[in-house]
Symmetry: C2
Subunit: 209 residues, 2 copies
């Protein structure tokens, strides 16, 4: 592998956060916070051998790369590409885990336009293979976080075509989802909510799978 990595360039925050960081919008800053907390939680889970879950890097389309002598390759022109999957996946005690993390400033519902069609399709495919799939939804202004099963998310998504709501009510999320507690280690203990999802799948079956 001939790629040279720059010396001493390790950023304080993971590289995958930087596209949003670079955007500098308030939406991006809010997104980074949830993302940062998830990254910290995933590092913790890895350190105690509880799970191996990583955020995928943001895909970049390279156009121009320079190779200055005796130093690292420098990307001089590139564009952000739309990812073809969700942002997070990995393994937790034998289970394939797949999810995306979203934030809303709304106080009573989560707008479905926060998802792209290709992300929903990806979750649909992963569910078919037996994956444990969900969204982590943060209501920024309420300070509340939920794990919402992909099966329910996909139902809501599909019902839009037949006159259904363009958003999921908070009360629905509270009924069908699982709250995620904020803590210190891990910051967001979303695997505790995954445990509840696994129990629910065991007892209620296909509707949650």
């Amino acid at each position: 592998m001939a790629i040279k990595y720059p010396q001493g360039q390790q950023p304080l925050r993971p590289a995958q956060e930087q596209p949003q960081q670079a955007l500098g919008s308030s939406a991006a800053k809010r997104g980074m916070t949830l993302e940062h907390e998830l990254n910290l939680s995933n590092q913790y889970y890895l350190s105690v051998d509880r799970a191996v879950i990583h955020k995928k890097p943001t895909p970049i389309q390279l156009v121009k790369v320079d190779y200055p002598r005796r130093s690292a390759a420098v990307v001089r022109e590139a564009y952000f590409r739309r990812p073809s999957t969700t942002d997070y996946n990995g393994i937790y005690q034998g289970h394939y885990i797949d999810f995306d993390a979203k934030e809303t400033r709304n106080k009573s519902s989560f707008p479905l336009k926060n998802f792209h069609a290709h992300q929903i399709e990806h979750l649909r495919h992963c569910l078919k293979q037996g994956g444990i799939c969900f969204a982590i939804i943060r209501f920024t202004n309420l300070g509340q976080n939920y794990l919402y099963p992909a099966s329910k998310l996909i139902q809501a998504w599909d019902q839009q075509d037949t006159g259904g709501r363009k958003s999921i009510l908070l009360t629905t999320i509270q009924t069908d989802g699982f709250p995620i507690a904020l803590g210190l280690q891990p910051r967001l203990d979303y695997l505790a909510a995954v445990d509840q999802l696994l129990e629910t799948i065991k007892h209620k079956g296909v509707d949650y799978e």
Copy 2:
């Protein structure tokens, strides 16, 4: 999400191949071929609902991003970062799948220096969680491809510290691994080799897990 994607910029080859492409070395070109064949195979597996396996994008450290008015954000300075995981993961019939793909021009052995320590550690963690982990090794000059179980790879890696070989003999790979046939659809039917690995784990147990 405020990121704008460029219009009509969809490349013919997946973006994640481009760092190697940009390097232009012969090693990179060979690497791209295996990578390209794996991407085609993964697209095929997805299209027939056999598995959901993707290559992760190459991580990039952004330094400078421009925002020309009314057009997509342009990355003006960025560097390649060393990935913290293997390149490929996903789900196959309930199994978490994790692997990396490597090529060698050697004809009688596979040099272990093709792997980085962090990749071996990642495979070790995924095995502990019950993942199906392996390397896909191509002997370019022999035109042969093998699935080699991560358990065996890690054994060879660890034995280097106690005077063991710095490479894995082709004959060992032929004994402990599984050949992957080249075809049209899929190009590399590596899931057939995964089926053999799953059978072997069932019969021989922990040594392969």
